[in-house]
C-alpha cells in the first residue's frame, strides 16, 4: 500500500533481484500489475488464502520459512482440488514492525522453495509494516487442464468416495510440511473420469460434507477402510479421541477426496496408476444423509471437525 518506507522499497528490490525470468511472465514484480501470458481458451482458476499469526500459526514455533512454504502450499492444494495446473502467485504481507525484514526474507525463501517446486512464479505483491502480527495472503492463478476443472458438484449416488492418503494428526507436523497434490490430481484427471473433488483443509467429515452439499447428495463412510496416519494414533494416546475420530475430524491433511463411478474406482484400486500414493475407497455416495458404517452398523456422522489447539 501507499507510503512505503525505504525498507519496503529495498525489500522489493531484494525480491526483484531474486526473481528469475519465466516464459509465462511478460511483466513481473515492479510494475503496477504483473502481466501474464495464458493459454487461450483454458478456463482460469483463482484461489486465495490468508494466514494470520496466532490464529493459523505460531510464528515462534513454526518459523517464518515454514509459514512461507505453507502459505503457498495451501493455495496450491486448492488448485489441485480442481485438477488444475498452477500458473502464477501474488503475495501480500503485513509484517510486524520489529524484525520485519528478517521475517520477510525467510518468508520469501520458504515461498520460493514451494513456488519453484511447482513451477509457480511469484509475479507480484504488496509489502506493509504495521504494529500487528504477521499476516500473509497468497493468491494463486491456475488453468484447467484440457479435460476441464473438477468441481465439488458432480458426485452421483453410487459413486465411490476415495482419498489420496492417510488422514489425521496433521498438527504433529504434516500441516507445515505437506505436498499439495497438484501432480497427483492432474495425473488422476488424465487416468480416469473424476466426478467431484475437494481438498481436506477442514477435515475429512467436514470437507466431504461440503462436497455432498454442492453435489446435493449424501454419503456413507466405511470406518474400517479409512486410512489413518501414525500421527493420529499418537494423538489418540492422550487426546480423549480415537485415531479414527482424528482421521475424520482433524484439519489440514491436504489430501484429496474425490468421487468416481464404481467401475472407475475398481480400476483405480486395482491398478494404482498414480506414482507415490495409494488410492483408497472409503465409502459411497448415497441420495441423502451423512453416515459412518462401523462393524456393519450405520450411524449419523457429524459433519464438523473438532477444533484443536495449535502447536
Amino acid at each position: 500500500m501507499p507510503i512505503l518506507t525505504a525498507g519496503e522499497f529495498e525489500y522489493i528490490d531484494w525480491i526483484r533481484k531474486r526473481t528469475p525470468a519465466h516464459p509465462r511472465v511478460l511483466v513481473g514484480p515492479g510494475d503496477d500489475t504483473a502481466v501474464l501470458k495464458i493459454q487461450p481458451d483454458r478456463p482460469l482458476l483463482v484461489t486465495t488464502d490468508m494466514l494470520l499469526e496466532g490464529s493459523c500459526f505460531l510464528l515462534d514455533q513454526a518459523g517464518p520459512k515454514a509459514i512461507g512454504r505453507k502459505a503457498l502450499a495451501v493455495n496450491l492444494s486448492d488448485i489441485a482440488a480442481m485438477a488444475g495446473k498452477p500458473t502464477a502467485a501474488v503475495v501480500s504481507v503485513g509484517l510486524p514492525r520489529d524484525r520485519g525484514r528478517e521475517i520477510a526474507e525467510a518468508l520469501y525463501e520458504g515461498m520460493r522453495e514451494v513456488a519453484d517446486r511447482f513451477d509457480t512464479p511469484i509475479v507480484g505483491g504488496d509489502t506493509n509494516s504495521w504494529k500487528g502480527g504477521l499476516v500473509i495472503s497468497v493468491t494463486i492463478l491456475g488453468e484447467a487442464t484440457g479435460s476441464g476443472p473438477v468441481t465439488r458438484r458432480g458426485a452421483k449416488p453410487g459413486d465411490w468416495i476415495m482419498v489420496t492418503g492417510p488422514l489425521g494428526g496433521s498438527i504433529l507436523g504434516k500441516h507445515l510440511n505437506f505436498t499439495p497434490r497438484v501432480r497427483e490430481a492432474m495425473a488422476l484427471h488424465q487416468a480416469t473420469r473424476l466426478t467431484a473433488m475437494i481438498d481436506i483443509s477442514d477435515g475429512l467429515a467436514a470437507d466431504l460434507h461440503h462436497l455432498c452439499e454442492e453435489s446435493k447428495c449424501g454419503a456413507v463412510l466405511k470406518a474400517e477402510t479409512i486410512p489413518i496416519t501414525i500421527a493420529a494414533h499418537h494423538l489418540a494416546l492422550d487426546s480423549g479421541n480415537s485415531a479414527l475420530e482424528h482421521a475424520l475430524g482433524d484439519g489440514e491433511d491436504f489430501e484429496l477426496i474425490f468421487t468416481v463411478s464404481p467401475e472407475d474406482g475398481k480400476k483405480l484400486v486395482a491398478t494404482q496408476p498414480i506414482a507415490g500414493i495409494t488410492l483408497v475407497n472409503i465409502g459411497e455416495i448415497v441420495p441423502s444423509g451423512f453416515w459412518i458404517e462401523e462393524g456393519g452398523v450405520r450411524k449419523p456422522l457429524e459433519p464438523r471437525g473438532y477444533v484443536h489447539e495449535m502447536r
Copy 2:
C-alpha cells in the same frame, strides 16, 4: 483458512446469496477455486494490495464500508495504470473477533458497490477471525486491451509528462472516496499512444520517480503547471508545507501520470478527449536527473513523499 467457525460458514452463505451470475464467471464463490472464462490471447493482469487497520486506515473513523470501497478501488487503480480492463476480484480478510460479522457485512457492501460500478465480480475469498486488527487483501485480475498493457518502461526523453487531475491533500477525504481511472485510462489508450503510465499512490514525485527508474530516464516538472486541489491549499494553511509541496508529496491521489510524445501531448491538451477530466502537461522527460522548475529556476526534486498522520 482451515477450521472455519460456524459463523464463517454462515458468512460465506450470506455472500453467495448476494453474488449475481456473471457471464465471465463459470464457478463463483463456494468451490476450491473460482473458474473464469477469459479472453483468448489477451495478456492477463494481476495485482494485489493489502489494507491494515491502524497503518492504512483507522476503522472507527472511516467505517468498514468505506474501507471495503477503498480495498477494491486501490487495486482497480493499478489495473487502470496498465490501461487494462478489470475481470474479477478475490478477497481475503482477517476480522477482529468482536463484532467481526458486522464489520464483514459492511466491508462486503462497500466492496460490492465499487465492484459493480466497474463490472468486476468478486469470485472468491477467504474469511478468518483473529485477535488482531482488521486486515483485508484484495487481488484483482484484468486483461490488457487490444493495444496491450501500458507499463512504466516506455518513456523517452522529450516525452510530455501528463496527469489526469489535480493533486494533493487526499487525506482530507479523497483517499477514501476516489474514482479509479479505469475508464479514463482505457479511453486514453484508444485516443493516443501512451509511452508509460503509473498511478499516484505514493505521491507525484515518488511515483514519477518510479516511472523514470523503470524507463531509465529523468524528468523535469514545471511547478506552475501542476494542478493543485483545494484540499492541498487547505492543508497548507497549517501544515508547514506549501500547497505545491502537498501536490508533489501527498500519497493516495490515485490520478494517473502518463507520458506521450510532444505531438500527441499537444493534441490531447487541445482536444481534451476524455469526458469528465482535464489532461494537464506538467513537465518533460529528460535523459537523466530529477528536477522541478519554478520561476525559470531548475532545482533538484526529492523523489519521496513525506509521511503524514492518518485521519
